[in-house]
């Protein structure tokens, strides 16, 4: 199976609720065939630092209402392991909740395949930090 580049992101929210505003934007990308959601997990870290892990299916429905449309996944078993979630949890500040998202950049699959067919080689590829972009733009102005 051809799979495009895969990214993951951990997005933390203050408090113990997952804000739903992310979900409609994610839905737009999924519906538009721009990304394919490969995995989704939720973590809550309490004030005392204890981490709790949730799946879409095990969280209160009202808390994840916005995410429910992602309940049917492409894979049955999480690509993100329990060890991974533990590692991520330790990066979270106490009293925050986080969503872990893994997605395939379906928009990039074809261009990647095209590069390979043309005998091209990926020499460098990097997400440029926002501050570096701002600095470069300021210098160029």
């Amino acid at each position: 199976m051809e799979i495009g580049p895969v990214d993951y992101a951990v997005i933390a929210f203050p408090g113990h609720h997952f804000t739903g505003e992310l979900a409609p934007e994610l839905a737009r990308l999924v519906d538009g065939g721009i990304v394919r959601l490969l995995d989704l997990a939720f973590i809550k870290r309490s004030e005392d630092g204890t981490a709790e892990f949730f799946e879409l299916e095990t969280l209160d429905a009202d808390e994840t209402a916005a995410f429910q449309r992602f309940a049917i996944r492409e894979t049955n078993d999480g690509l993100v392991s329990q060890d991974d979630l533990q590692l991520v949890a330790e990066e979270l500040a106490p009293g925050t909740s986080a969503v872990v998202l893994v997605w395939e950049n379906t928009w990039a699959t074809e261009i990647s395949a095209g590069v390979a067919r043309a005998g091209g080689q990926l020499v460098a590829f990097e997400r440029v930090p926002r501050s570096a972009v701002a600095a470069a733009l300021a210098d160029a102005a």
């Binding site: 895969v6 993951y8 995995d39 997990a41 892990f53 799946e55 879409l56 299916e57 095990t58 309940a71 049917i72 996944r73 894979t75 049955n76 078993d77 999480g78 690509l79 993100v80 392991s81 329990q82 060890d83 991974d84 979630l85 590692l87 991520v88 330790e90 990066e91 872990v100 893994v102």
Partner: protein, 114 residues
């Protein structure tokens, strides 16, 4: 009812990505910390396993020398900083095309004691 995904207790996508980033020398602050924590938790598990083995050995055969049993298993457990530096250097050489995939894999396996 749709069941949630099974999550097994081994390094998954995120842990593997963090370790790969360290080996390739492209680790961010977060992925570097996650890779180090994986390493230390693997070392603790190894130490706990070794302690179990030692306990079992000393209870079944008390005449055995305990200091001999306490030797860490070769090639397992934590990477020392020299090994990590070697891995990072290898990653750079590989990225620069001075090592083929096969050479890189073989050298990496040697350092990791696989």
């Amino acid at each position: 009812m749709i069941r949630g995904p099974r999550r097994v207790g081994r390094p998954g996508l995120i842990g593997t990505a963090a370790r790969t980033a360290v080996i390739a020398g492209t680790a961010s602050a977060v992925s570097g910390r996650m890779a180090r924590r994986q390493q230390s938790s693997a070392a603790q598990q190894e130490a706990a396993y070794q302690a179990d083995v030692n306990a079992a050995a000393s209870s079944s055969s008390p005449q055995q020398q305990p200091q001999q049993a306490a030797e860490p298993a070769p090639g397992a457990g934590a990477l020392d900083s020299a090994a990590l530096a070697n891995l990072e250097r290898l990653g750079q050489l590989h990225q620069q095309g001075m090592l083929s995939d096969a050479e890189f894999a073989a050298a990496k396996a040697r350092i990791l004691g696989l």
